[in-house]
C-alpha cells in the first residue's frame, strides 16, 4: 500500500514554511541535511506506514524562502520549535540528518521535553575532541557529495543535475549559518548536557570522512540516555548508503 504524500504549508511569523506530510499515527519530525534534499524516499515510506511523517523545508532550503532574522542554527532550531507549536504538536519523535541533527540537538538543548525520542544521524553541532570537521566549503557540491559517501558508485545514484541548483542554495544557507564557529556551537554541549533529554540513538557511518566517528561517543556523553548505532561500510550519509539497515535500526529504536 502506498502512502499519499502531500506538500503542505504553515505560516510562522508570516513566513510560509513548506513541509511534506504523509501517513497517520504519532507524529515523527524529520530534519533534512545540508544538501537540503526535500524528497520522498523509500525509508520515509516505511516509517509513514505507522507514523505521521513531517519533513519541513527549513527557510532558505528547497521551496522555503530564506528568513533574514535567522542568523544561527539556534535561531533555526527555535523556528522549528515554533513549527511544531503551529501544528499543535507538544511532543514528537525526531530524526535529524547531519545538519538537521545539529538543529535537533539545539532544539533539545532549548526544550528537551518537546522530543520523546531522538535519532541523530552524524550530526554537526559539537567540536570533535579528536580531529576536525572537514571543511565542506573548500569543496564543490559534487566533491562534497563524493567525499560524504563511502562508495563512489553511490555518487552516481545520488548526483542529480536537477537537484544541483537547490543543493547549491542549501549549501549557501548552511554557509551563512555555520561558517563561524565552523559547523558547531561551543555552548551546545554545555546546554545539552543538563537539558534532561529522553532516549536517543546516535547513528554514525563507520567510514565517515566529514565528521570523525569518535564524535558519536561525545554526543553520547552529553545526552543523558543515548546509545550509538554504527553502520558498517557507510560514509557521512548512512541513510543514503545503507537505507535498509538504517531504516530497520531507526524503526526498532522508535518502537522500543
Amino acid at each position: 500500500m502506498t502512502v499519499a504524500v502531500t506538500q503542505e504549508q504553515v505560516l510562522i511569523d508570516d513566513v510560509p514554511c513548506s513541509f511534506l506530510a504523509a501517513g497517520s499515527g504519532e507524529p515523527l519530525l524529520i530534519l533534512h541535511d545540508e544538501l537540503g534534499d526535500i524528497e520522498w524516499r523509500p525509508w520515509h515510506a516505511e516509517l509513514a506506514k505507522r507514523r505521521r511523517v513531517l519533513i519541513p523545508a527549513s527557510p532558505g532550503f528547497g521551496v522555503s524562502a530564506p528568513v533574514e532574522w535567522i542568523s544561527s542554527v539556534r535561531d533555526l532550531a527555535c523556528f522549528h520549535a515554533r513549527f511544531l507549536r503551529e501544528l499543535k504538536i507538544d511532543r514528537v519523535d525526531v530524526i535529524g540528518l547531519s545538519f538537521g541533527g545539529w538543529i535537533a540537538a539545539e532544539m533539545a538543548a532549548n526544550c528537551a521535553s518537546q522530543f520523546a525520542r531522538m535519532v541523530l544521524v552524524a550530526p554537526f553541532g559539537i567540536k570533535p575532541r579528536i580531529g576536525d570537521i572537514r571543511d565542506i566549503f573548500l569543496m564543490s557540491t559534487p566533491e562534497y557529495l563524493q567525499a560524504s559517501l563511502n562508495h563512489s558508485e553511490n555518487f552516481d545514484r545520488h548526483w542529480s543535475p536537477q537537484l544541483s541548483a537547490s543543493r547549491e542554495e542549501a549549501r549557501a544557507e548552511v554557509a551563512r549559518l555555520g561558517w563561524s564557529p565552523y559547523m558547531h556551537n561551543p555552548s551546545l554541549p554545555h546546554l545539552l548536557k543538563c537539558a534532561g533529554t529522553g532516549p536517543a540513538l546516535v547513528i554514525w557511518g563507520e567510514r565517515d570522512s566529514i565528521i570523525p566517528v569518535s564524535t558519536a561517543a561525545q554526543y553520547c556523553e552529553i545526552l543523558s540516555n543515548a546509545k550509538i548505532g554504527t553502520l558498517a561500510n557507510c560514509g557521512h550519509h548512512p541513510e543514503i548508503e545503507a537505507d535498509v539497515e538504517f531504516s530497520r535500526l531507526v524503526r526498532s529504536f522508535l518502537v522500543e
Partner: protein
C-alpha cells in the same frame, strides 16, 4: 585621459608544475622564500617610483590574499610607503577589501593616514573580493555583499561625520566612532570601484557617481555594462561621461616585435595568463558568495566570445605536462591576443590596438597592466621607461583628441542630463566592428 601604472607584483620564480596543478591560490606557503620576498617587495616599490618618473599619472595597487601572482596582501602598507616616496602620482587602491579586514574603522584610519602623508593623492577603491579572499580570511561569503555595503557606508560616515558617533548596524557595531586623523581631501578621497561583470556593482557605482573600472573584461559585455551605468546615471539625474569609466589592459611592449613576443611568452608560465581561471571554481565562488543569477552571468562573462578556452571549468585530474604544453604555446598567446586579453608589440605597434579599445569604451582612465611574467627588475624598469617615453605621450594625445576627460578634469556626475528620458551612450558599439 588619466594613465595609470599597474603591476600585480607576482612572486617568482615558483615551480611551474605546482601552479598549473594546484592553481594560483592555495599553494602551501612553504614554497615562499622570504629572501626572495624581501627583494621583490623593494623592487616593486622601486618600479612604482620609476613609473612616476616615466610619466604615468597614477599608480594602482591591488590586494589579494594567498595568491602567488599578487604579493599585495596588505596593499595599504605599500600605499603608505609610496605616499612618502612618490611626489606627484595618484595612489589608486583597486581596491581595499572592507569585508575581510575585519575592522572597517581601522581601514578608514589607514586610508586617512595615506591621504594625509601623500598630500591628498589617494584614490580610494573598495571591492567585495573574490571567494579566495573570503576563504583566506575566514570571512563568511554569504554576508559578503551586505557587509560590503554596510562597511562602505560606515567608512564614508567615519570620514565625513564629526565624532563621536555610534554605529549599530547589522554586521558592524561601534559605540564610539571618533577617528582623530581624517582625510586631507574633502569631503573624502575620490572613490573608484573596479569590477569584472556584476551589474550590481555597476549600479552601485552609477548611483554614487563613482567611476567604474573594468578589469580587462571582454569588450562586448563591457559595452552593455557601460550602457547600464549610463542608464542608472540618468535615473540618478546626471549624464555619465568618460570621467565615469576606466579600463585596465595588459600591455607587453619591447623595443622590437621579437623582444615583445619573448616577454609575452613569459606571461604564460604557470598558466598565469589565465589568472583567475587558474583558481578552482569552488575557491573563486564558495557556497553563498554569489546569487544564482550572478553565478550564471559570471559564467557567461568568462566565456571567450572568440572561441577561446572557458576560464571557469571544473578542473578534476589532468596531465600537468600536457597542460603545460598547451599553456606555454604560441597558439595560446595568439588566443589571448585575438581576444584582447593581452596586447603585445612595439610602442608604435600597440598604440593602434589600444586606440581600438578606446574607440569602443571611451574611458577617462586607462590603466596599463604590466607583465605578470617572471621578468627581472632590469627588464621591468626598461619596459616602464619604454612605455613612458614612447607610448604615454601618444596615448595622451589620442585621449585629448577624443575628449576622454578624466575624473580629475571633470567631476564624475557633474555633467547635466539633457532630459531624464534621453541619455547618451559613452561606449560606441559600432566601433566593436574594428576589433
Amino acid at each position: 585621459m588619466h594613465i595609470a601604472y599597474f603591476s600585480e607584483r607576482p612572486y617568482h620564480p615558483l615551480d611551474e608544475d605546482l601552479t598549473i596543478a594546484e592553481g594560483i591560490w592555495g599553494i602551501s606557503n612553504r614554497h615562499f622564500d622570504p629572501v626572495v620576498g624581501a627583494r621583490l617587495y623593494n623592487e616593486y616599490l622601486d618600479q612604482a617610483v620609476r613609473a612616476e618618473e616615466a610619466g604615468y599619472d597614477g599608480i594602482v595597487l591591488n590586494e589579494h590574499h594567498g595568491l602567488v601572482t599578487c604579493m599585495g596582501a596588505v596593499a595599504n602598507i605599500e600605499a603608505a610607503i609610496l605616499a612618502r616616496i612618490t611626489k606627484r602620482c595618484k595612489i589608486i587602491m583597486l581596491g581595499n577589501l572592507p569585508t575581510t579586514v575585519g575592522n572597517p574603522l581601522r581601514l578608514a584610519e589607514e586610508l586617512a593616514e595615506i591621504d594625509l602623508i601623500s598630500g591628498g593623492r589617494l584614490v580610494s577603491g573598495f571591492v567585495r573580493g573574490g571567494g579566495t579572499e573570503q576563504l583566506s580570511n575566514g570571512s563568511n561569503p554569504a554576508f559578503n555583499r551586505e557587509l560590503f555595503l554596510e562597511a562602505h557606508d560606515f567608512i564614508i560616515k567615519a570620514w565625513t561625520t564629526p565624532g563621536p558617533f555610534r554605529h549599530e548596524g547589522r554586521h558592524l557595531h561601534y559605540r564610539f566612532v571618533n577617528p582623530w586623523a581624517l582625510p586631507l581631501q574633502k569631503p573624502h578621497p575620490p572613490i573608484w570601484v573596479p569590477g569584472l561583470v556584476s551589474p550590481e556593482t555597476v549600479r552601485f557605482c552609477a548611483e554614487r557617481r563613482y567611476p567604474y573600472i573594468a578589469l580587462s573584461t571582454y569588450l562586448e559585455p563591457t559595452v552593455d555594462l557601460w550602457d547600464l551605468y549610463c542608464e542608472t546615471a540618468a535615473q540618478a539625474g546626471y549624464q555619465a561621461g568618460p570621467e565615469n569609466f576606466g579600463y585596465l589592459q595588459k600591455v607587453i611592449v619591447g623595443e622590437t616585435e621579437d623582444e615583445a613576443r619573448e616577454l609575452a611568452m613569459l606571461e604564460l608560465q604557470g598558466g598565469r595568463a589565465a589568472a583567475f581561471g587558474a583558481i578552482k571554481p569552488e575557491f573563486m565562488f564558495p557556497s553563498g558568495y554569489n546569487s544564482k543569477g550572478a553565478s550564471s552571468r559570471m559564467a557567461r562573462q568568462f566565456k571567450n566570445p572568440k572561441g577561446g578556452p572557458e576560464l571557469f571549468v571544473p578542473r578534476g585530474k589532468f596531465d600537468v605536462a600536457e597542460a603545460k604544453k598547451t599553456i606555454n604555446s604560441p597558439e595560446q598567446l595568439k588566443i589571448l591576443e585575438d581576444s584582447y586579453r593581452i596586447i603585445v608589440g612595439t610602442p608604435a605597434g600597440v598604440i593602434s590596438k589600444i586606440k581600438k579599445i578606446l574607440d569602443v569604451l571611451r574611458p577617462g582612465v586607462f590603466i596599463i597592466r604590466h607583465s605578470d611574467g617572471w621578468l627581472d627588475n632590469k627588464s621591468r624598469m626598461k619596459t616602464i621607461d619604454l612605455i613612458g617615453r614612447e607610448l604615454i605621450p601618444g596615448l595622451k594625445e589620442i585621449g585629448d583628441r577624443m575628449g576622454l576627460v578624466s575624473p580629475f578634469e571633470r567631476i564624475p556626475g557633474s555633467r547635466p542630463l539633457n532630459s531624464p528620458e534621453s541619455w547618451e551612450r559613452v561606449a560606441q558599439v559600432g566601433a566593436l566592428e574594428n576589433i
